[in-house]
Symmetry: C2
Subunit: 201 residues, 2 copies
């Protein structure tokens, strides 16, 4: 026997994922060639196929891993009982998580159409799981009479869109700190659902 704990191989596999993520985010899946990935990894194109079955699997795994990690991270959060506080928790969580992973976020809704049907279904299911989080919070707040919403489903999609949109203009060296951006969005979102922040934040 030989090579029980493949030291070199696992590192290459990780670097392939990193490079693919970076290049897919920068230029788009279809515009990135396997040779380009290989070049940046520092390897010949053929060598990629020691670590992944094909280009499509590269994209699928990146998206699936991201969505699953996102769901897991939310699962680890402690949720307050009050829907308004849940909403604030979600807003901060979403912004924090997404601003830390701009590339993953970007490909997760830019490259869905480049997934083959079966892969698309898989990712789409994870996406809907995540969308259910704000939907449930809004529904709870509406039921409790705390929110003032004409339609909780539309509101949930609108809030998700505006939160995710942060990644399109946020710059680390920009005018606003991440903390400040969170605060602004918490106010915006809380106002939009029809509550005002109870003091003490």
């Amino acid at each position: 026997m030989a090579r029980t704990h493949g030291s070199k191989g696992e590192e290459t596999a990780k670097r392939i994922d990193e490079v693919a993520l970076k290049l897919f985010a920068k230029k788009g899946y279809a515009a990135v060639s396997m040779r380009e990935i290989a070049l940046e990894v520092g390897v010949q194109a053929g060598a990629l196929y020691n670590h992944c079955p094909n280009k499509q699997a590269l994209l699928t795994n990146l998206l699936a891993d991201h969505m699953q990690a996102l769901l897991d991270a939310w699962g680890d959060m402690e949720l307050p009982k009050d829907p308004a506080q849940q909403l604030e928790t979600f807003v901060r969580f979403h912004i924090q998580y997404h601003l830390k992973r701009p590339d993953q976020v970007f490909i997760s809704y830019m490259e869905l159409r480049n997934l083959e049907p079966d892969n698309f279904k898989k990712i789409e299911a994870l996406r809907r799981q995540y969308e259910a989080i704000p939907k449930n919070i809004l529904a709870a707040g509406q039921m409790a009479g705390q929110f003032n919403l004409a339609d909780t489903h539309v509101a949930a999609m609108a809030i998700l869109a505006q939160l995710t949109g942060v990644t399109t203009w946020y710059r680390e060296q920009g005018r606003l700190s991440q903390q400040k951006i969170e605060d602004i969005y918490v106010q915006l979102v809380c106002q939009s659902v029809g509550i005002t922040l109870s003091g003490g934040h």
Copy 2:
């Protein structure tokens, strides 16, 4: 002399743009080949070059035409004096305009990265012109003391993101009419900027 009013050629040119738009929206610029466009137009690939210099120009023109038409359409609108009413006008305008042209909207912020630098600058400038519209409205409302916003720039970007996001989930056969969707968003947006609708809508 011959062929003064090229009847066949102009129609083909129009069809090329239509097909390119449709395919770029569906599969992405990089994933669509000139042969694929030609096939759908009903012509050989080489014939496309009688009507456009190259693939990049096809994309650039689609984006530039869309952005310019969007700006022109807004320019034709009559604007009320009151910032709150301006905001409602903008919300309805944006939703109406974008839901009528889902493909144009889609490529306008999905395919920006596939533009060569000079073309990108051109489109980006038009985009910023459009972003200035809600920014100015929010700034005016804030100055007048009618809105309650921590940051008008962030709020403008957030509102744009949530409005444009409608195109990702709206279905013509869906649960909600376009009119109803507008109403929901008007309420959401007006609440988010910190005003409540004065009755009579």
